[in-house]
Symmetry: C2
Subunit: 354 residues, 2 copies
């Protein structure tokens, strides 16, 4: 606390990201990173661009990257917004599009950054409980609101919502901006990008941190009607002219263009997820049906927090949230086949000895 | 305008950065980039780090970079904040430390992003006119205020303020945060970092975009009392967990550590500035005394806007601001010796033919 802080600072409860440990030799299954390297083409492009031209400012609009994203999704580049990771894109979205008199709605169990943004921008919000199966029911969002946001697939549950439900939601809420946060969409979900040209109130947010293996680069993007994109641009241009550096712009663009590598690595992760799910179930775990690059799982006889600690003693880190309804769950990122095999062996041994 | 925009978006007047032209073969003296390449050591570090580890999130706190900055300035790393360019650092500063009931003060002629941040965060502000010689007079800031910010050297004038004046200002305003924006300090000014341990209300903001030749990387930083830094961290952690990517963190750190290269390139720019100033004066220009990597200059007989257009026809771009008091000035970035020679030749020929 300081007399010099602006009033808002005193009331903030900052987001706490998953640990990024500085020691090596860990099996790191705690922050949903991709176990496979980035596209080799992206790495080559970045290495070649690391030259004296870095003395110059980058393109403030990252036009080449917007074009790559637009090409990938068959959109116009004016329907694309880019930012310094999807967290920055979401922050601008909360400020530019989700601050209205009526409350913003999001699920009670969801990305825990959402209430933090509401605190930062003083946004009136209300949580809507997931149903008993931890699913989003779009009928629960038929109520007065100033906007709706949730991840699809949801985090940390991994449960996806069919495209038809998203379309129902958009039709039920034509005066509200509906933000679908698709950080994990490429691991088996149906993207709402297909609905952008029909619904001017739809914004889809994605990232290259997960399915494109470039968490270290910090690039996220949003797609929607040009009115929504223009709102985001106005805030971005009032915040930071050049949020994306030259290397990030080029690397992200190359990763978007390398569809073969992307498709292959996503398919490998989906296969590993299926296998891991079966193996966890064989150990007695309940595993929520995941369309993401992680599984959310609980064991009826073992405390999640204890399991996480025991795994850590075996140099395997997973994520545990001390939050109502989910405190007995572990969120486990899909690693390589080998990493998941080691996880299962560790869990087997921990469970047998407890 | 859109029904979906938050209220604040309608009233924004976004900042317009200097042009980043996409055509080559230009002499680009419009956005105060360094004419010399980044430290070769920084480039090597970044090239080597462009590998498969980019699949992982970076250190959310950029500890290694904070330590390099702290080492450079003989501070503790807890006195350092880092962000995605000094524009982001400034944005967080406005939100975290400069939003109070009393008005924020800054000069009438200054970095034109300041009023934009005030619009974004709804900050009450008041401009204080520079004196007739375009200088900041700290006595003009002895008035009720909720904070003070200005660049030193000031932009776009280039005029620096002695350290004693900054200390007077701090003593006159013990209840206000005083932010000294030192984007251009390394080209001849006296940094206020020397006062940080004495004045808990002082925040110094710097960037690696100018004197460290890394505008393409987007890294800025702030230094001050830990209370001020903690206020910034609280806002940053409520906005974006990972604002600096791995390559930017490593490259910036290497650039901070390479003092020999830094000292040499800054000295070259200062020498070129002195020579360019003499040459401009020989052509009849008035040149404000600059401690920055640019000069601010007007010709008593020639209109600045016309001169800028004529230079552009000769493939030389400089910056012209259509703003009261300075509309007949050109802001000219210090280029290489060769670039400045070409500029002088062009101006000579333009002036002779008008």
């Amino acid at each position: 606390m300081s007399q010099f802080w602006s009033k808002i600072v005193h009331s903030l409860t900052p987001y706490v990201p998953g640990e990024q440990p500085k020691m090596g030799n860990l099996i790191k299954l705690n922050t949903n990173e991709n176990p496979y390297p980035p596209s080799p083409k992206a790495l080559v492009v970045m290495q070649e661009a690391t030259d004296e031209s870095l003395r110059l400012y980058p393109d403030p609009n990252s036009d080449s990257l917007k074009q790559s994203i637009a090409d990938y999704y068959h959109l116009e580049s004016e329907q694309v917004f880019v930012g310094n990771g999807s967290d920055e894109v979401l922050a601008h979205t909360f400020q530019a599009l989700l601050n209205h008199d009526k409350p913003l709605l999001f699920p009670d169990i969801s990305y825990s950054f959402y209430p933090v943004y509401c605190g930062l921008y003083n946004i009136n919000h209300k949580t809507v409980p997931l149903n008993a199966r931890f699913e989003i029911d779009v009928n629960d969002y038929i109520q007065d609101n100033g906007g709706i946001i949730f991840p699809n697939p949801n985090a940390p549950t991994g449960i996806g919502l069919p495209l038809q439900s998203i379309e129902d939601l958009l039709q039920q809420n034509p005066s509200s901006v509906v933000v679908i946060d698709e950080a994990y969409i490429d691991f088996g979900g149906e993207s709402a990008v297909a609905l952008i040209n029909e619904y001017p109130n739809l914004l889809v947010v994605q990232t290259i941190s997960k399915s494109r293996s470039l968490a270290g680069l910090r690039v996220g993007f949003a797609m929607g009607h040009t009115d929504l994109i223009q709102g985001l641009v106005r805030v971005k241009d009032s915040f930071n002219s050049y949020p994306l550096d030259k290397l990030a712009t080029l690397g992200a663009s190359a990763a978007m263009n390398d569809k073969v590598y992307f498709t292959d690595t996503c398919a490998r992760i989906i296969n590993t997820r299926k296998k891991l799910t079966r193996q966890l179930e064989a150990l007695g775990f309940d595993v929520l049906p995941s369309q993401a690059n992680f599984v959310f799982s609980q064991h009826p006889k073992h405390c999640a927090e204890d399991l996480a600690k025991a795994l850590r003693d075996n140099s395997i880190i997973v994520r545990h949230f001390k939050a109502p309804r989910i405190e007995n769950f572990l969120r486990i990122t899909i690693g390589t086949e080998e990493e998941c095999t080691q996880l299962i062996q560790s869990l087997d041994s921990i469970i047998s000895s407890q």
